[in-house]
């Protein structure tokens, strides 16, 4: 598996997908901060040209980490079946499980590196271009990233499991959305009728991020500010990793290529 991971890093660093992904997101972040900066220059009374407002985008939508990780995994591995490289890996003595683990590790490392880069660009450009204090907003955002990182890894693992299982990217996307968003929202709605379901739904990231996190000009109220809230995010993430890893192994163990 180590050799497979090494070969994947070689391949990824010699193709343009990862660079395009980072370039596009960096450009997006800079356009956001630069746009608000430019707007503030022309409209002096604008109340949104500050670090607090800009950082609230990510702090209030931590599920962006889940989506970005999944998109990156799709970008890196979705062509493997079509190009016939997955069948080669299997034919050359890689078990499907090792292949799955290898892809998870490679995707996670690449996603982590991209996240570090983009977060740095996001914070630095916000501080340089916009007004207002950086603290405690930077700290809240970084705490949020740390607390939600385990579930971001879980969401990425789920994407890899589906990429290896399904042939079409569209199906991968739909299946992923169903598990990460649709099922939790059904559980959440059912929770109004059944108390047990409400308790289960409260542990699902889509639900707790929607109901227990707010960030904006009116203030920040973040679940992870309290140790219990941070623990909830981490526990949900770890459970997600275990569940999605098991799912990935199970569905791909005897998958015909």
């Amino acid at each position: 598996m180590i050799n497979y991971i090494r070969s994947e890093f070689y391949r990824i660093l010699h193709t343009k997908e990862i660079y395009l992904f980072n370039l596009l997101l960096t450009a997006g972040v800079l356009a956001l901060n630069g746009g608000i900066h430019a707007a503030a220059a022309t409209l002096p009374n604008i109340r949104y040209a500050n670090v607090k407002f800009v950082l609230s985008f990510l702090t209030g939508s931590m599920d962006f980490l889940f989506i970005a990780g999944a998109v990156l995994a799709v970008l890196l591995f979705s062509g493997d079946r079509k190009n016939g490289v997955m069948k080669n890996a299997v034919a050359y003595g890689m078990s499907r499980t090792s292949l799955f683990f290898g892809k998870c590790i490679v995707s996670f490392v690449m996603a982590l590196a991209s996240m570090v880069l983009l977060t740095a660009v996001y914070i630095v450009s916000a501080i340089l271009l916009l007004e207002g204090p950086a603290q405690p907003y930077v700290e809240l955002m970084l705490e949020g990233i740390a607390a939600n990182l385990p579930f971001a890894a879980a969401a990425l693992i789920l994407a890899v499991a589906f990429i290896q299982f399904f042939e079409k990217e569209l199906i991968v996307g739909l299946a992923w959305m169903a598990v990460i968003y649709l099922i939790p929202s059904i559980c959440y709605s059912t929770g109004f009728q059944f108390k047990t379901m409400a308790e289960i739904a409260a542990w699902m990231p889509r639900n707790y991020l929607m109901t227990e996190v707010t960030a904006g000009m009116n203030g920040y109220a973040c679940l992870w500010s309290e140790p219990e809230g941070a623990a909830k995010c981490v526990i949900a993430g770890v459970v997600g990793i275990v569940v999605f890893l098991s799912l990935g192994i199970l569905i791909n163990r005897r998958k015909e290529i």
Partner: protein
């Protein structure tokens, strides 16, 4: 006796109600070049995919280098090179980088093997070309190069000469021959071009609609395909009776158009014509023929379907 390195025991593969491979038993010995002969849908690719672990048998088992359990098979497949259906590579990587990718994946030290293989497959001058820019024939060559990475002991090649131009076919044939002779690499290959297989294989497997019709060595095949006599007579049934009396054990086949094909060890052609005249049968034509692999396969297929 040479070591058996690939073996199929009662191997069956079904896709729903379709049986792609039906109770196939065969053995491949080290150093052999086994040609898989069959029409589309005869089970050639299915058989190769089962050996390569890309699909799983519904019934029966595959053994590679003596290993039969799933875990052992995965390990033994590191000794196998494959090119099944379309060659697998990254179109956005150059030829050289594709080979480098597989070199790293197979844990082969040093970069010399990449250059050696580039020369072997005749793509050294094209090493900086992206995979997506290659012609069909060059893609086949790259596929072979990837299969050769790591000096495999067994090569599984599905239609390796597909898309190659005449000189490419000759080069591919020579490369496979050389690998077999110099490195004792066992090769299992399928091809629609039977004349090409004839020049490569020393063992044949004839498949039809998922069934193995026959496994036969090149020597035995030559014997079976060897000279036969076709005789056109006025009364084929009576001639057959006379033939059985005069030449007990002689193989023959009654063909349409009052013809008989006499195969196996044949006597002088004149002896058959004199036998006919002794029996009061008129001979309108007599010719000595040699069956091609294609003819042999078609007859085998017909026989298999009738039975």
């Amino acid at each position: 006796m040479k070591e058996i390195i690939a073996e199929a025991g009662s191997l069956t593969k079904r896709y729903g109600r379709i049986t792609a491979l039906n109770n196939v038993n065969l053995r491949v010995r080290r150093g052999e070049i086994l040609g898989l002969v069959g029409d589309n849908g005869s089970g050639k690719s299915t058989f190769l995919k089962l050996l390569a672990g890309q699909i799983f048998p519904t019934e029966g088992e595959v053994r590679l280098f003596g290993a039969g359990t799933e875990r052992e098979l995965v390990r033994q497949r590191r000794r196998v090179g494959t090119m099944i259906e379309a060659p697998g590579f990254y179109p956005q990587l150059t030829v050289e980088r594709n080979l480098e990718y597989y070199r790293i994946q197979k844990g082969i030290p040093g970069k010399e093997q990449v250059r050696d293989i580039l020369r072997q497959i005749g793509l050294y001058e094209r090493r900086k070309t992206y995979g997506k820019q290659l012609s069909l024939g060059m893609k086949q060559r790259l596929g072979l190069g990837i299969a050769l990475m790591g000096e495999p002991e067994l090569l599984l090649l599905d239609e390796p000469i597909n898309g190659l131009d005449p000189s490419g076919i000759i080069e591919m044939r020579e490369t496979l021959h050389r690998l077999n002779l110099e490195k004792n690499i066992t090769i299992i290959l399928s091809s629609h071009i039977l004349t090409e297989l004839e020049q490569l294989a020393d063992e044949y497997c004839f498949l039809d609609r998922g069934r193995l019709l026959k496994q036969i060595s090149a020597g035995e095949l030559a014997e079976e395909c060897g000279s036969c006599i076709e005789i056109c007579v006025s009364d084929p049934e009576l001639f057959a009776v006379s033939l059985e009396k005069q030449f007990p054990g002689q193989k023959y086949q009654v063909l349409p158009g009052q013809r008989l094909r006499i195969s196996g060890e044949c006597a002088e052609p004149e002896r058959y014509s004199s036998l006919a005249s002794q029996s009061g049968i008129t001979v309108s034509a007599l010719s000595v023929k040699k069956r091609t692999l294609e003819e042999y396969y078609m007859e085998l297929k017909k026989g298999g379907r009738e039975s």
